[in-house]
Every structure is written in structure tokens, then in C-alpha cells.
């Protein structure tokens, strides 16, 4: 096992530019990619549930806020300290924008009872939501057909597109036309965001009122592709899917087929790992040896959480399915988003104004710290200030960002702007002190999201180059870990390796790195950044590699502990710190995985 810090690299692996040309042909062109940060999941007042929670923010305001402008939220001026590079407003396609549409003079519903009924109900979230019959999303009752007239939906859809087009500034700020498809079979979140590259767009969005089945959404998406529409479907909140999101059955409870796996792999290339309603990486009960598994978890209902609602289990199950069918349906990259229903992508922990509308009035901090959130029915403090997506792209344009998402060269963060790179290769012994190490890594290895091709020399284990640069406004970096998932003797396994750190800590007998001592002063909600590193760079070689085993590797970067948003809010208002949630948080980033399949994979 080889654990490298920067000093290790300088001391031991400093072999003068060992740039051996590998037998496989990797990217030969010089690649200059930088990390762009943004949010691909945000609701405005055009989502019926956000409107029920008194959110009035428009898509226009959402884009302006992301660009760094000041926007008012519950009477307070809110502004991101660091603006975003891109944003997709993803309002629910079900009854898209109706809440605002009925306020326009001359609207097609003016002569009906709906406007007065909606306006009258607006004070009561329950009544307001009731009008939209969310049970229609569960397939229980028919939908409100008045709201689904093509002419109405088309008008609103055009408005959503106009806002996205108006704020697109190639090179400076990228917007995507997007929406959320939101079925709720038996209350399970089976939602997907639909992100469209442009310039060709669907005439109307597809909704859960058209169908509750992901397979039908895929059929719609494939038909759109035939028309020249390029799009990505991004599942999210799998933690709230009752284990259905990555189930080993299709939505009709049939066994998975090769056709299913191929369609899913082609369309669902990314999955959201973290957001306001919880993180879906794993849980302590599924990963008892992972000391960092208990992170911003949210679970609804009485039944216990299901592994097939969590990403690490899905990645493992994907290997099993791949062995049986020859295709892996769960071959996806990872992104982080907010899913805020406030219209404001305000994911900075120290500057978090809440994200769910009613219940976020920080002028009444006691209510935020002590009450349940009306929309979620859980303590507001449980809500997470997560997350953001990082994209490694050549330029900040729709084309460049979309291509990067297609090749899964993306990563997720819990809301900070940590930059993380991961490359894998067979002879990836690079001079990491060289300014050009990234170029060499692109030439000789594959970046995150890619496939590591089999090597002719089966005795060789792959090497990973891992790099993380801290968010300049957040905590220092604690460590980079590699999470390896693999298939052996028909069973899946996982192991977490502490791979790169930059101080004098040594691994304990269980090969775990001891924690860094916290520098947080809880009484003041401050920290000093006197421990941890501003940057981590090192290499790691899989010590247990077997050339005949399928494997998936992803990296996780941990920051040092800093105060959680609920702690900042309590301390700044002289109130007790909430006991519903941890006082501190170790912000983090997750890379998209790198996938390895053996040369002669047995297909049963």
C-alpha cells in the first residue's frame, strides 16, 4: 500500500519525468480545463410547492443572484460571497408556473374559479398544495386538466426559456434551459432533472402527469434526441426514493434487461449525491467501516432505509448487473446541487439564508432554529446547505460544460468550492512538482468519469493521481480518500483508503488516518485554518488490484471541521446551538468514479 503526501512525492516518486507512452491511446491533444462551479437544480416561485411556501422569486432573479447580485429574501438583502459560473433553473414541470400565470391579466384561466381559489388558499400551504392534487403525481387521482392546456404550458415554458437565454453570457456565465420531472409513486421521490444543451429545445416539457415511469421519460427523451434535442436526465434525492431509485427491478417490477441497462446508461449519465434534503452517498448501516458515512442524512417514514436508495450501493450493484447483462445501468458521474425552493442558490455555510421559503425568516431566528419546516415537516435545522457541481471544462459555455457533463468529468461538493482532480493510468508516474503535471496526466491517464482500459500486463496495478485545492473562503483540507468498490466471487465489496494528506499524521493499526484536532471556537463560531492543507497532491496505487475483477473508484475530499450553518445562526443571534444536528461540519467533495472492466469479463 502506498500513501503519498506531497513530501512523499518530492522525496520518493520524484523520478525525472517518467512519461512512458502507454500502449493504449489516450487523449493526445493538449487539454486546458478549469473548474467551473454552479447549480443544476433550483426552484423559483414557478414551482407550485415553492409558491405554496410563499417563494415569489422569479427565474430572472435566480440568475441575477447566481451572478452575484443582491436579492431580497424575507426582507433581508442576500448576496453570494462568491458568484456561480452556471445555473439551471429546474422548476417542476407539473403545473409549471401556474401560480404566477393566473396573475397575468388576460390569462386563459381568468374566467374560471382557479385564480380566486389559488389566491384565497395562498395563506395555507396545505390547502394550496391540495389544489394541485399532488396525489396526481402518485397516480391516485386525475390531474387538474385546466392547468395542462397546451397553450398555457407553452406560454410558461417559453418564459422559462427566455429567462435562461437572457442571462446566458458565453465565457462569463452559463445558463441551461431545464426542468424537473417529479413523479411520486407511493410517496417515493423518483425525480429527474432534465438539462437541455440547446439550441434545439422540446416544445413542451414532459411531466409526471404524462407518466410516472422513468422508462416512459426515457422514451420521450429518445424521441427528443431524434429531433436534435441534446439532454441529460439527472436522478436525485435517491435517499427519499424508498430504495426504488437504483432498484434491481424496473418500474413494473420486472427483472432488468440489457435494453433497460443500455437506455439508462445512455441517458442517466449523472446522479446528484447531495442537496438540501440530504446526502445520498451511503449510511453508517451500509458502510460500518466508513467513519465519515454519517453526513447530512435525511430519511422519511417508518420503514428502514434501503441500500438501493444510496449511490455507493448502486455503484456496487451496477457491477453485479454488468456481470449478468454485459451492461452497467448504474455507470454514472456525481454532481451536487441545492434543490433550494427559494430561487437563491445560496450554498455558502457561513452565509446560508435557508432554502425552502416559509420557515426561513432569519429575522425570527428562534423559529428557524426550533420549529419544523412547513414544507418538509422536519426541523428546519436538519436541512442541508448543500451543494454545488464542479465541471472541468475548456470554457464557460453551454457546449463546453455540456460535453464535460456527458463525459462525466464533474464532481460534487457539499456547497464549498473545493477543486478536485483524479486521473488513473497504468504507468502514471509523473513529476508532480512540474507545472505541467496536469497535461501529462491527461496524456497518460483517464480523468474522473472515464473508463480505465485493461492493461496487457495483468500484474500491474493502476495508479491514481489525486489533487485538491481548497475553497479560499472555507476550511483547509484534511485528506483525500479513495473509495474502491469491486466484484469478487460474485459479491460486491468496498474499502476506503486514506490516500493523500499533508502533515505528520500516521496511519493507525487499522490503516485509518487519525482526525485533525478542531480549531473551531464554538462560542464565537470561528475557526483558524491552522491545521490541514490549502492544497493536496499525491498519487496512490491500488494495493489489492486484481486484473480479473470489475472495480469502480471515486475520491472523497474532506475539509477540516468548521461551524455548521445552524451554529453560525445560533451564535450570531445569541441563541442556544441546535441539538437536532451536529454543531460542526466537515465539508467535502466527491469525484465522479473511474470505471474498470477486465479484458475478458464473463457474461452469464
Amino acid at each position: 500500500m502506498k500513501f503519498n503526501t506531497n513530501q512523499h512525492i518530492i522525496g520518493k516518486i520524484y523520478i525525472p519525468l517518467l512519461l512512458l507512452i502507454h500502449t493504449q491511446s489516450f487523449a493526445q491533444n493538449i487539454v486546458h480545463r478549469q473548474a467551473y462551479f454552479g447549480d443544476l437544480h433550483l426552484h423559483t416561485g414557478n414551482s407550485f410547492d415553492a409558491a405554496s411556501a410563499m417563494t415569489r422569486t422569479t427565474p430572472d432573479e435566480a440568475y441575477r443572484f447566481a451572478k452575484g447580485e443582491v436579492i431580497q429574501y424575507f426582507g433581508r438583502d442576500i448576496q453570494r460571497k462568491a458568484p456561480l459560473d452556471f445555473l439551471a433553473v429546474t422548476d417542476h414541470s407539473e403545473y409549471l408556473g401556474i401560480s404566477r400565470y393566473i396573475e397575468n391579466p388576460g390569462n386563459l384561466l381568468e374566467e374560471t374559479l382557479w385564480p380566486s381559489r389559488l389566491l384565497k388558499a395562498l395563506g395555507s400551504m396545505r390547502e394550496y398544495l391540495g389544489i394541485f392534487s399532488p396525489s396526481a403525481f402518485r397516480g391516485i387521482v386525475p390531474p387538474v386538466t385546466d392547468f395542462l392546456q397546451d397553450e398555457i404550458v407553452s406560454t410558461i415554458w417559453q418564459d422559462q426559456m427566455k429567462a435562461a437565454q437572457a442571462h446566458y453570457e458565453p465565457g462569463e456565465f452559463t445558463t441551461f434551459v431545464a426542468y424537473e420531472w417529479s413523479p411520486m409513486p407511493d410517496g417515493a421521490h423518483m425525480h429527474r432533472n432534465v438539462i437541455i444543451k440547446g439550441p434545439v429545445y422540446p416544445e413542451l416539457p414532459y411531466t409526471a402527469l404524462d407518466s410516472q415511469l422513468p422508462e416512459d421519460l426515457w422514451t420521450w427523451a429518445e424521441a427528443q434526441q431524434q429531433r436534435g434535442v441534446e439532454l441529460l436526465l439527472i436522478p436525485h434525492n435517491s435517499n427519499l426514493s424508498d430504495g426504488l431509485m437504483f432498484a434491481l427491478r424496473d418500474s413494473q417490477n420486472n427483472q432488468l434487461t440489457k435494453d433497460y441497462a443500455e437506455r439508462r446508461q445512455a441517458l442517466e449519465r449523472l446522479v446528484e449525491i447531495t442537496q438540501i434534503k440530504g446526502t445520498s452517498e451511503t449510511r453508517p448501516e451500509f458502510a460500518p467501516t466508513d467513519e465519515f458515512a454519517d453526513f447530512e442524512l435525511i430519511h422519511f417514514g417508518d420503514s428502514p432505509p434501503q441500500g438501493s436508495g444510496y449511490i455507493r450501493e448502486a455503484l456496487k450493484n451496477g457491477l453485479l448487473v454488468s456481470q449478468q447483462l454485459g451492461v452497467n445501468p448504474f455507470r454514472f458521474g456525481l454532481i451536487g446541487s441545492t434543490d433550494f425552493h427559494s430561487g437563491l442558490s445560496a450554498s455558502e455555510e457561513f452565509n446560508f439564508p435557508g432554502g425552502l421559503g416559509d420557515g426561513d425568516e432569519q429575522s425570527n431566528p428562534r423559529r428557524v432554529l426550533e420549529d419544523k419546516n412547513p414544507l418538509m415537516g422536519l426541523p428546519t435545522t436538519v436541512m442541508s446547505s448543500s451543494g454545488l457541481t464542479g465541471i472541468w471544462a475548456e470554457s464557460n459555455t453551454r457546449e463546453s460544460l455540456f460535453e464535460a457533463m456527458q463525459r462525466r468529468e464533474v464532481f460534487a461538493t457539499s456547497g464549498t468550492r473545493v477543486q478536485v482532480r483524479m486521473f488513473a493510468g497504468w504507468q502514471l508516474s509523473l513529476n508532480l512538482t512540474s507545472e505541467n503535471w496536469v497535461q501529462s496526466a491527461y496524456s497518460l491517464g483517464v480523468p474522473m468519469g472515464g473508463d480505465l482500459p485493461p492493461n496487457e500486463d495483468e500484474s500491474l496495478a493502476p495508479t491514481f493521481i489525486l489533487h485538491a485545492l481548497k475553497d479560499p473562503d472555507s476550511g483547509n483540507l484534511d485528506r483525500i480518500q479513495v473509495i474502491k468498490l469491486w466484484l469478487e466471487d460474485g459479491n460486491t465489496h468496498e474499502r476506503i483508503y486514506d490516500a493523500v494528506w499533508n502533515d505528520t499524521r500516521e496511519l493507525d493499526v487499522n490503516f485509518n488516518l487519525p482526525p485533525l484536532s478542531s480549531t473551531v471556537d464554538l462560542a464565537k463560531a470561528t475557526y483558524t485554518n491552522t491545521s490541514g492543507a490549502t492544497e493536496l497532491l499525491g498519487s496512490w496505487q491500488d494495493p489489492n488490484f486484481k486484473a480479473d475483477q470489475q472495480a469502480v473508484y471515486y475520491a472523497r475530499v474532506l475539509e477540516v471541521a468548521t461551524p455548521r450553518w445552524s451554529t453560525y445562526l445560533a451564535v450570531s443571534n445569541n441563541l442556544p446551538i441546535s441539538s437536532d444536528v451536529p454543531k460542526l461540519i466537515q465539508e467535502r467533495a466527491w469525484t465522479s468514479p473511474i470505471f474498470f472492466e477486465p479484458q475478458n469479463k464473463t457474461i452469464r
Partner: protein, 277 residues
Amino acid sequence: MREPLVQFLFLALVAFGINSWVNHGEQNNTKLIISEKLRSQLFHRYELQFGMQPSLSEQNRIVEQYIESELLYREAERLKLSVGDDMVRQRMIQLMQQRFDSQVVSDVEEETLENFYTEHPEYFSLPARLNFSQLFFRIDPASLTLAKERATSALSQLKLVKDPTGIQSDNFAMGRDFKAMTSVNLRSTFGQSELSEQLILLLDDPTKISSMDQDWFGPLQSGYGVHLLRITGYTPEEIKPFADIKNEVYQIYQSIRLRENSQHQLNMLREKYEIQY
């Protein structure tokens, strides 16, 4: 109005009006008429929601539900339960705001927009930008003091030769040269730091840049470590051409009109009320 009959009729009408006005609320609050029109509205709503006509028993249920909700609503109104309720108050404020906003016409002549653009260049400017090079000195695993010492020593060498080739510094993950950095870019890239703030001061007062003669200066601290810097270019603030940003001009013009109209309406309200402090 001199005819007695006309005077009588006029007075009778006034008396009737007052009586109706006084008793209006009471009558309405205690009498609930389920008219045919109301029934058909309720059933129509059901039909719209469920795609079929309600059965007889459904009809009864719908009417009974309506009666109960209306009774609760009226009783709540009678008890003035809305008074002091934050949600209702917030909603009423919103409705007033919407009323104000609907008074502002959405069509605007292009000439009006162009005049607005000419009169308000401050809304349509591209911010000033800096190009610069930097040399980086890590603060970990060493220390801030050591990094500053290394940077100061490098700076004294750079006073003699401006060319940084051969000067000992550390790699910076985002590269050595930065182009077209606005104040927003600076804060995003280098954090809320001494480096960002010093460069923003230069953006605000570019006269200092020419006197710097591309000299290296520093050390300045960022969220990552310590840097030496050299300004290599400056682009002053520019105004975007009208033809490229008509839509943006419209948006800003309208938002100002909406704000002004709201303010005007509020001022009128202030005149209507006596506010005691």
C-alpha cells in the same frame, strides 16, 4: 331637488342604502345560500379535476364540504382571526404589491429605451479588468512567516531583474497568469483576502497602475497562501452597445418603473394615514 316627492324618494334611497350597508355583513354571515349557480360551479370544478361528472352522492358530499369550509371561513372572519396572523398579513401585502405592479404598462417604445440607456450608462457598463502575473509561496506545511520571508527575498531579487525565470517559488494550481479579472472574479478566485482587496483598490484607482511600471509587489496573502504580483494590463470600464443589450435595457427600465410606481403609491398611502411615532 325642489319637488317634495323627489326629496322624499332621495331620502328614502339614502335610508335604504344605509340600512343595507349596516345589515349587509350580518345577513351574509348568518345566511348561506346554496344557489343552483354555486352548485354547478362546485360540480364543474370537480369535473375539471376528475374528468367526470360527480355522482349524486358525490354531489351531496361536495356541497356539504363546501358548507363546512365556508362556515369555518366566515366564522374565522367574524372572529377576526386574520388580525395579527403573519401569513395573512404577508399575503395581503403581496396582493397590494401585485396591484401596484399591474398599473405599470409592459409595452415600451424603443426610443424610450434608448433615451434611458443614454441617460443611465452606469447600468450598462462592463466592469474594469486587470491582467496580472503572480508568484506563489505556500504557507503549509511550512508557515505564514516562512512563506512571507521567501516572498520578500524573491521580491528583492525581482527588483534587480523583472523576469521571474529562475526565481524560487511554488506551483499554483490555477496557473501563473490571470487575465480580465474583475472585482467579482478576484473575490471568487482568491477569496475574501488581502490580495483581492488590494487589487480591487487598483481597479478603483487605476492611476496607480501606470506608476507601477510593471514592477513586482507584495507579498499579499490570499485564501491559499502568499503571492507576489505584477500588473500586466488594465482595461477600463466600458459601456455595452445598445443594439446588443436591448432586452437588458428593457428589464432594468421596467424594474425601475415598477419600483418608482410602488414608491409613489406608498407615498400616497402615507399621506392618507397619520403615522404617530
